[in-house]
Amino acid sequence: MNQFKLPFSIEHPSKKDFVLAKCYEEKRECYKLTIPAQKQLEEAIYIKLKPTANDLDLKLVIELGEGSSATIIEDWSNEVKSPTIHFEQHIKCQANSNLKYIVLNCSSQKTEMTEKRTSDVASDAKCHIYTYHFGSKKLDSQLTQTASGRNAEINTDIIAKSATDQDLSFNCEHEYAEKQGAGEVGMKGIAQDKAMLSFDGMVNIKQTGGGSAGYLKQETLNLSPNTTVRAVPGLKIDTNDVKAGHSAAVRNLNDEDLYYFGARGIKKEMAKKLLITGFLGKELKKIKEHKTAYETIRKLI
């Protein structure tokens, strides 16, 4: 494999367990990674974007065959210094497959990035996307997951830290098109300095999606007086046999908590650091088994 020049490297102990192909979709170059049916990958596939200072335009298609399972980690290091990045991704999870997809974005804080990620999750399949975003000067991220088969499960966790003059905007939609779908969107972020952080979420249950349960939760810690935070938690429900809800919270660190630390001799800065780690810690634990990714994010928090 790898007969062509890739803008990323792939790490996995057994590269025979999946297929990477270069293809064209609507005359656009794209890369397709396929996990064959019934293949259970125990080790994560590591997709590491190569260092570059050139503009980047990339499309990636991920397909999991029936009954397969995999964990894929997509890593944008701060060596990715492209002035502009256009990234498109489509995930297709066939029936009974199970995908855990982790995005670590620590790209240079000078890049302007637009990304569009979509997933199509078939009957009894599961797709959980985690996005940890710390990079980019400006980001316009759109992520849409569709539960297109019965009992499909779609979950998304977006964790972002926006500092200095970063402007990060996340738009995430979960669409339930078939019966008995389930899933949650979690959007959690920290805004500080002069940053902007926007969470736009939507749970959309179609008339054909009876019996589905969809939730959306947005939480933002707003740490500096010059930040701008936006939260738009939406619901679009077209039938009655559903369980759906959303919540959004925007707040600063709790004075009482800071006082509690202070009373025990912990300085305010350290107390803040501990509280922030606690705020994002729960989300970080979700990827604890992937040590490299876990350590990268832990350091950034």
Binding site: N222, T228, A231, V232, G234, I237, D238, S247, A248, V250
Partner: protein, 479 residues
């Protein structure tokens, strides 16, 4: 000796309340409308000038109307929300008078009998006797009855037909009129500014507390009517009042339009509650604008029920200008077959230590669509602002729809904002529990729905809570 049976009937009637006997016929009843022959449909600068002349308005008001008309011609229809495609301005009658008595009659006995009968059916004169401090009743474009308790008049409270207020208190009106909702705010504010007619002017002087509510009732009677009443309320520093607005129209199967405007100014330390029970006919476009500016320590409460109209676009707005000011928005929307209830709230936190609370409940049934649309903004100056938003939606069948579109923007790191929304259907266990005790399914469902909306309804005076419950019952029964 009196017949004990007669006594008990009277007692029962009283305990049921003034509005308990309301039925669909009460609202759908229409009076003859020969007077409409004198009025044309459509809007033009000539019509705007004619309205002003008919009311013998001062020059500034005519100028303001003409400017608003210009905005109306330039501002496009909103490119969001429910479709307004079928709203044909050429088919709407923008100004019509059923009786010619500026300021309205001061006694129900003087009101033309057929109009009085309509308001009798709606229970307004009876409510005036029992629970209200004053009443304004508008029929088509003009107020036909207005009254206020003498004691309040003596304390300096002004409760007038808006047309009369322009004539008798021009300085006060000019100072506040369309300053809270400027005519260039949106298409329908502009339309309103051009053709407004009737409505209420309420001024409560400093420190005066009006204990009983004041009510205005707006009734459209003729086919293809448009109503554009203007409500201007000034609650001076430390004053308190409660105003109730009701409205209805018969159904003709042809479009009607309501684009009223409510402006409220709440002074320092003042408290004001605006309650409305909206029940326009289901061929009405209800595109109303309601907004309040609240000064330091002031409290503004919006309590609303939207049951009628084919299309509603209504988002009461509070501008928390003064420090320590507060706004509560409590609302119910019921979207039945063919209805789109696009309602919500807008709150702008400008002052320090301001707080707001939004509680919205919606019910969708028979293919109806209910939408919560919110806009909450906390600007840099609003230090320590707090806001809490709760939206609950019940969808009663598989073909109905509920959408929630809240927008929260925070420019201040000392703010605390919480938003929660839930959507679901009636709990089957609750229905089972009630039916196992011999209650029919339909009644059980109605009881659960009444319980669902109770946190809002209980904020209304008892008589109006009964009216709201009755309207919900009528919707549940499809009557």
């Amino acid at each position: 000796m009196a017949d004990p049976h007669v006594k008990s009937e009277v007692k029962e009637e009283k305990s049921e309340g003034i509005f308990a006997g309301l039925n669909r016929d009460t609202f759908d009843h229409s009076d003859p409308s020969e007077y409409m022959e004198k009025f044309k449909k459509g809007i033009s600068p000539q019509l705007v000038a004619h309205i002003s002349k008919d009311k013998d308005e001062p020059e500034w008001m005519l100028h303001q109307r003409m400017k608003a008309y210009e905005y109306f011609t330039r501002i496009p229809l909103p490119d969001w929300g429910p479709s307004l495609e079928k709203l044909d301005f050429d088919e709407i009658c923008f100004f019509a008078k059923a009786a010619d008595k500026k300021g309205g009659y001061d006694s129900w006995d003087k009101v033309p009998a057929y109009i009085k009968n309509t308001f009798d059916r709606l229970g307004i004169p009876e409510a005036e006797k029992q629970v209200l401090a004053g009443v304004g009743a508008q029929y088509e474009s003009e107020v036909i009855y207005h009254s206020i308790e003498k004691e309040l008049e003596e304390q300096g409270v002004l409760f007038l037909d808006m047309d009369v207020a322009v004539e008798k208190h021009p300085e006060l009106v000019q100072k506040y009129f369309m300053k809270c909702v400027p005519a260039n705010d949106h298409k329908f504010a502009a339309l309103h500014g051009a053709v407004w007619s009737g409505g209420t002017f309420l001024y409560v002087p400093k420190g005066v507390k009006v204990e009983k509510p004041l009510q205005a009732y707006f009734r459209m009677n003729a086919m293809n009517m448009g109503q554009f009443e203007h409500t201007l309320i000034i609650i001076d520093d430390g004053a308190e009042a409660h105003y109730i607005e009701g409205c209805s129209a018969p159904k003709y199967g042809s479009n009607a339009l309501h684009a009223g405007c409510v402006e409220v100014f709440v002074g320092k330390g003042a408290k004001f509650r605006y309650s409305s029970v909206e029940n326009w006919s289901k061929d009405t476009y209800n595109l109303n604008t309601k907004r309040a500016i609240i000064e330091e320590g002031g409290i503004m409460e919006w309590v609303g029920g939207n049951m009628g109209s084919g299309v509603t676009m209504l988002y009461p707005c509070s501008i928390l200008k003064g420090r320590n000011s507060r706004a509560d928005h409590l609302g119910i929307a019921f979207a039945n077959a063919g209805q789109t209830q696009d309602t919500g709230a807008k709150i702008f936190h400008l002052g320090e230590n301001t707080s707001s609370r939004i509680v919205m409940k919606s019910i969708s049934k028979g293919g109806g669509k209910s939408i919560y649309r919110g806009d909450l903004r906390i600007v840099k100056t609003a230090k320590n602002a707090i806001s809490q938003v709760e939206c609950d939606a019940l969808i009663l069948d598989p073909i109905s729809v509920s959408d929630t579109y809240p927008n929260i923007k925070v420019d201040n790191n000392s703010a605390t904002v919480n938003h929660e929304a839930r959507v679901g259907r009636l709990n089957e266990e609750d229905i089972f529990y009630l039916t196992s005790r011999g209650i029919p399914v339909a009644q059980a469902e109605a009881m659960i729905v009444n319980g669902f909306i109770n946190p809002i309804v209980r904020e209304l005076p008892l008589e109006y809570a009964v009216e709201m419950n009755r309207l919900i019952e009528l919707e549940m029964e499809n009557l």
